[in-house]
């Protein structure tokens, strides 16, 4: 088993009587930009929730770096290097951009709980070092000028960048992006594509859901298409575009994103 792969095997998730994800298997290899696509309601976000432990799946297995993570709590999974963003942006709205990104440094910080009560020289050093990383990250995402702004007062496009910066501050091995281009204009989308490449160049594996097919076909290296929770196709972007089942699924659902 290759070491840093994410392997889903026969994953099934039910909500009451509804089967949201049905016997799904796929493998994301280290260093890939991997796409998960499908019509609305196909169960893509549910797959992400299963991987990140927000709604653990009942059956199947989720292996990460050779370890079973299916039933681990979210924060443990993050500690193992898997970080996600959300389709509906979930930032800490009343707080500043820098504080939001600082939240990503939580698990990297060496402070103990009792440093919340009494500081030590080493906790102070740790604090400074982490702020340093935050400002590097702000620089990387071109957010420095907004450092002190309250997040909820910023435009949507910038909030998306903040959310990615926050995820990157965790220094993940696998970054999961849930519709990163939703609500972005063309310019912003172009910047996003460049950013995704720059992240990949740092050696980080990327798994993304996206409705913007231009973006998907441009950036991803390998794709899995699901509909009604089951896989209907997988392959590289070229193969997927030709696949009749995929065309049927999208046309049949009259999804105008395609």
């Amino acid at each position: 088993m290759a070491s840093n792969d994410l392997v889903l095997t026969n994953v099934t998730k039910r909500f009451g009587g509804l089967v949201a994800v049905d016997d799904l298997s796929f493998t994301v290899q280290q260093g890939q930009i991997y796409g998960l696509i499908g019509p609305n309601g196909a169960g893509k976000t549910t797959v992400f929730n299963c991987i990140t432990g927000i709604h653990p799946c009942e059956e199947g297995s989720v292996l990460w770096c050779g370890e079973e993570i299916r039933l681990l709590p979210t924060h443990k999974i993050v500690q193992m290097g898997i970080v996600r963003t959300f389709q509906t942006i979930r930032l800490f709205g009343q707080m500043s951009v820098a504080e939001n990104v600082m939240s990503g440094r939580h698990i990297k910080s060496s402070q103990s709980w009792w440093n919340g009560i009494i500081h030590t020289p080493s906790s102070k050093r740790d604090e400074t070092a982490n702020w340093q990383v935050v400002f590097e990250m702000l620089d990387f995402f071109d957010l420095t000028e907004f450092a002190a702004s309250t997040v909820s007062s910023l435009p949507y496009g910038i909030q998306r960048r903040v959310e990615m910066a926050r995820a990157m501050a965790v220094e993940p091995k696998l970054l999961i992006l849930d519709e990163p281009a939703a609500g972005l204009n063309d310019n912003e989308t172009q910047t996003l594509i460049e950013t995704i490449y720059r992240i990949r160049d740092k050696g980080i594996t990327i798994l993304l859901i996206e409705h913007d097919m231009d973006l998907v076909m441009e950036v991803t290296e390998y794709l899995t298409v699901i509909n009604f929770g089951s896989k209907i196709a997988e392959g590289n972007p070229g193969e997927i575009q030709e696949n009749p089942a995929v065309i049927e699924a999208y046309l049949g659902s009259e999804d105008d994103d395609f």
């Binding site: 976000t45 927000i54 709604h55 389709q87």
Partner: protein, 298 residues
């Protein structure tokens, strides 16, 4: 066995009162997601208004029309008060953080409680004996006319409310607003009117509860609203707050708990056991007995 049945009767009587009052909490919570802390004080206010209506407006002579008159006038007065509280203390805060509405509710509670004290004084007032104190003994169990009335009238009101909410158009609108206010608004429901409606209904039920307290216990004090409010609120939580049958169930259960705990376990620890039971129920069922578990949408 006699003791058991007697405790059952005791528990159901006080439980019916809790349930009536709990409905006011739960209906408001269902639609507005707000704990109406002033509700208990409306209940207390009702007993005082009833006293005033009887002795000042209707002449102080007991007769059936007068008793009915006391009930009707008090219900009207208290539902108007409930309406005023909503307008003044809650409506301006509908979009504010939830905790500010909680504190505003506490403020409203303080206003009503101290308002009663200013009008009627801090001393205990004696509620008139409007219902003759008739008691029957059935196989060792003593039951009074007042208890029968409380249980019967509460049941009637609760069944009526249940059908109102389930079967009528307004009831459907109430349920729709409880699930999603924005969607309800899009479907052409005037949510403001719905909120006014639930305040009127909730306060009316509370008013009946308050009159029962006055009739049953006789001694009424300006600050008694707190304890009835707290227990009714606990009843609503046990049943699953926001859930109408839940409030009824919670009220009756709480009444029975209190009776059996004070009776069989220990009167000196009655309150502690009641709350320990509540805590255990919530640990096992975090959203109450009939409350729905909501998975957060991500």
């Amino acid at each position: 066995m006699d003791t058991f049945l007697q405790q059952l009767v005791n528990g159901l009587t006080i439980g019916s009162m809790f349930a009536l009052i709990a409905l006011g909490y739960t209906m408001v919570y269902g639609v507005m997601k707000l704990i109406n802390f002033a509700h208990g004080d409306l209940v207390a206010g009702s007993a005082f208004v009833g006293l005033f209506v009887f002795s000042q407006l209707l002449g102080g002579e007991v007769s059936l029309p007068v008793v009915i008159g006391v009930f009707l006038l008090t219900i009207v007065a208290i539902s108007l008060l409930g309406f005023t509280v909503e307008r003044l203390a809650y409506r301006p805060l509908r979009t504010a953080p939830r905790l500010s509405a909680v504190v505003s509710a506490l403020g409203a509670s303080m206003v009503i409680q101290n308002g009663i004290m200013l009008l009627w004084g801090p001393q205990m007032q004696i509620f008139p004996e409007l219902i003759p104190s008739v008691i029957w003994e059935v196989g060792g169990v003593v039951i009074s006319l007042m208890q029968v009335l409380i249980m019967a009238l509460s049941t009637l009101l609760m069944v009526g409310l249940y059908f109102f909410v389930e079967k009528t158009k307004i009831g459907t609108a109430i349920r729709a607003s409880a699930i999603d206010q924005d969607a309800a608004r899009l479907m052409g429901i005037n949510v403001n009117n719905i909120i006014v409606t639930i305040f009127l209904i909730g306060s009316s039920l509370g008013a009946v509860g308050g009159l029962f307290i006055g009739l049953y216990y006789r001694g009424i004090t300006f600050n008694m609203g707190w304890q009835y409010g707290l227990y009714a609120f606990v009843a609503a939580i046990i049943g699953g707050i926001g859930n109408i049958p839940g409030a009824m169930l919670g009220g009756l259960l709480l009444g029975l708990f209190k009776a059996f705990i004070a009776g069989y376990v220990s009167s000196t620890w009655a309150d502690a056991f009641t709350f320990i039971l509540l805590i255990v129920i919530l640990i096992v069922r975090p959203t109450g007995i009939l409350g729905e578990r909501v998975a957060e949408k991500v």
